[in-house]
């Protein structure tokens, strides 16, 4: 699949000055995000306020988590097509488990906690199988993870017989859609629970809980990629896997870990999905696979591995999230989003070719 990579383009091609290119390289993505946001702020009424920022982050959490999952895999030079259906699988499994535990007499908070935790453990399984196929049997990541996509899809549908998984306790929705603060007129501030107000009175909701959870998780994984030995090793594997082997890095074990981690993050996204939408379905994450991979690529990672950071991936994901919300709020049909994401994706990779990020 990588035979058509013949390195970076001749440097003179686009801009004469190397210094200018080096300056633009890696920075244009942030500039793009700012310009895009500014554009929608001016063009779209009601875009420039706290609430739409929260909405954008709230509905973006699945993409953020899958993008981080995909980043880890892409840094090793692989790809994980299964994350979308692992998400769906986890959304179903968590609901089934929580309902089961609830019926077994567990109080709701305990059922949620236990059900969610068990789901995350089960969620490692698809990734471990992917990693085993890729690292130990030499199956190309594309094939291994597509197969896993099929298996997760099938198992999910069998679990719910082609419909939805439902029946979560109210508490799940309260958490999934809850906020840290609620401000009501008259100086009323309430933490975690919505204050009792008369109908029609506006309550300001501040900081969705799951956005904070997601931010913490993303931060932890940014740290892992950047500062841990595991992270250093997966960059080395993506940069030159022969060199990694010869330097004594346990490459197979690391790959196993990376695919397991990817699947874990996808399961987490699935559990979060269940809490947000109080339902689970097989294809819950099917359409955001493109967004997740696009976010990673727009963030400047290379398909061939060895590069990419969580920070820039999040910028890529935000570009897509802002685009989606901006288009929706300006009344443009959302299918324009697909066209634009496709175009930005190609543009980003071309930019990366012409102006590789200069790392100091």
């Amino acid at each position: 699949m990588n035979t058509q990579d013949t390195g970076t383009l001749p440097r003179k091609a686009l801009l004469g000055s190397g210094a200018l290119r080096a300056f633009i390289g890696g920075r244009w993505v942030i500039a793009f995000l700012l310009l895009e946001t500014a554009y929608f702020c001016f063009r779209t009424e009601g875009f420039a306020n706290l609430n739409s920022a929260q909405i954008l982050l709230f509905y973006g959490v699945q993409v953020f988590l899958l993008a981080v999952a995909e980043l880890f895999v892409i840094v090793t030079g692989g790809i994980d097509l299964s994350v979308g259906y692992v998400l769906g699988f986890a959304s179903i499994v968590s609901i089934k488990l929580i309902v089961f535990l609830g019926n077994a007499g567990l109080p709701a908070p305990l059922a949620l906690l236990l059900g969610g935790a068990i789901t995350l453990v089960i969620g490692l399984v698809p990734g471990l199988i992917n990693g085993w196929l890729v690292a130990y049997l030499g199956v190309p990541p594309f094939i291994a993870t597509f197969s896993m996509l099929g298996v997760c899809h099938g198992v999910s549908e069998l679990l719910i017989n082609g419909i939805y998984a439902m029946g979560l306790p109210q508490l799940a929705a309260d958490i999934g859609n809850g906020h840290f603060f609620y401000l009501a007129p008259g100086g009323i501030v309430s933490f975690f629970t919505r204050p009792e107000v008369e109908r029609g009175v506006q309550v300001l909701e501040v900081i969705p809980i799951i956005v904070v959870v997601t931010a913490i998780v993303v931060g932890v994984f940014a740290f892992v990629l950047r500062r841990s030995r595991f992270g250093r090793h997966i960059y080395a594997i993506g940069g030159n896997s022969d060199a990694a082997v010869r330097a004594g890095i346990p490459v197979k074990r690391r790959l196993l870990g990376v695919y397991a981690l990817s699947s874990f993050l996808a399961s987490l996204a699935g559990v979060v999905y269940a809490f947000m939408y109080v339902s689970g379905k097989a294809d819950a994450g099917a359409s955001i696979l493109l967004d997740a991979i696009a976010a990673v690529m727009i963030g400047g990672a290379s398909m061939f591995g060895g590069t990419g950071t969580v920070g820039r991936t999040m910028v890529g994901a935000l570009i897509i999230a802002v685009l989606e919300l901006g288009l929706r709020m300006s009344g443009t049909p959302t299918f324009n989003k697909y066209i634009l994401v496709g175009a930005i994706l190609i543009f980003a990779v071309v930019m990366e070719r012409y102006m590789p990020e200069s790392r100091k």
Partner: protein, 356 residues
């Protein structure tokens, strides 16, 4: 690995078994399902399966060329949807302008087929001129084609097309009621529509159509310089460049061909269903096409693959679904089975690397 593949595999039978395991698997599956599922083993069922696989067969053929060259084309599923929707919109416009139905169909199909060259051309140019990996370039095109298709149809299948379309698309060469009559190209007009199920309908129009296309493609791949260069590029890009092949041009041609075949699939789709369908996310046409090609023995790293083997790959997936359905197994097992088969295909390929 290769030292222990001495014994059984050295024999002619062993070699051809490992070499064409997909075909043997297909046969095996046909035998098993013939026993487990009533009505499985019948000409009618078989020809229906093949008829319904026309689109996947075309897409797998497209993907075969791309994969042999060492690339991948993720856009074909959505290009197909875009072509199908565009054709439908054009037909509506032509019908409204009062053109005769025959002309409407011919003109619209012709225009979209020419138009279907464009996405592939763009893919090829982006891949060669800008050195964007095929995965990304075609993934971008996936988004663009999907968005354009949805824009054209506003998220609903385009209906109100000539009835002649599905009649032709689902027609048969031979209609007969055993012991009474036989007619070609259509049922006799006096025969009531309600009793059409009693008729024997043999050889769908789609069958010679798809066989001819596959034969031409197989010939081009095996016997023409075009095919030879495709293998050369997939085998070793460097060697191909050094031996004077204009690799960029050839790669552009391959992606254009791929997108054109997706275009044919789109037009066929409209003939078969009578409406302009956009492609949904869960259809995953391109991924199933890749799966069929791999099951047929190609390798994602390029240089290997055959058109007819990919067709066998499509039929393996199709009969798997059909056989499971007829045997009363829940349809969801199909997804799982595809995954397992795919892994088996690659592992077999790993175990016997030097066979093809």
């Amino acid at each position: 690995m290769s030292d222990d593949s001495g014994g059984f595999l050295a024999t002619g039978l062993g070699r051809s078994l490992a070499n064409n395991w997909a075909a043997f698997f297909l046969l095996l599956m046909l035998v098993v399902f013939s026993m487990t599922g009533q009505n499985f083993l019948s000409i009618v069922n078989f020809q229906n399966v093949v008829h319904l696989q026309t689109v996947p067969l075309l897409l797998a053929a497209a993907e075969t060329f791309v994969i042999i060259s060492g690339g991948i084309d993720l856009s074909i599923g959505f290009v197909m949807g875009l072509v199908s929707v565009s054709a439908a919109r054009l037909m509506q416009a032509f019908l409204a302008s009062g053109l005769p139905v025959g002309w409407v169909i011919v003109l619209a199909s012709g225009i979209v087929l020419v138009g279907s060259l464009i996405p592939g051309l763009i893919n090829g140019i982006i891949i060669t001129r800008f050195k964007v990996p095929p995965f990304i370039a075609t993934m971008g095109m996936w988004g663009i084609a999907n968005g354009l298709a949805l824009k054209l149809c506003q998220g609903f299948p385009v209906a109100g097309l000539p009835d002649a379309l599905p009649e032709m698309g689902n027609g048969y060469f031979l209609y007969a009621l055993p012991g009474q009559f036989m007619s070609l190209f259509g049922k006799p007009s006096w025969f009531p529509d309600a009793r059409v199920r009693e008729l024997w309908r043999l050889i769908p129009f789609s069958l010679p159509f798809i066989l001819a296309i596959l034969a031409v493609l197989a010939f081009a791949l095996k016997r023409k310089r075009f095919g030879r260069h495709t293998y050369a590029i997939g085998g070793s890009m460097d060697a191909a460049v050094r031996s004077g092949i204009d690799v960029d041009r050839h790669v552009i041609k391959i992606y254009t061909l791929s997108s054109f075949l997706a275009g044919i699939a789109g037009v066929f789709n409209i003939f078969q269903t009578g409406i302009g369908n956009y492609t949904t996310f869960s259809a995953m046409y391109e991924l199933f096409a890749v799966a069929a090609v791999i099951i047929g023995g190609a390798s994602l790293s390029g240089g290997k693959g055959r058109v007819w083997s990919s067709a066998v790959g499509v039929l393996v997936l199709a009969f798997l679904e059909n056989g499971l359905a007829i045997s009363g197994v829940q349809p969801f097992y199909r997804y799982i089975a595809v995954g397992v088969l795919l892994v088996i295909a690659v592992v077999i390929d790993k175990l016997f690397p030097n066979l093809r």
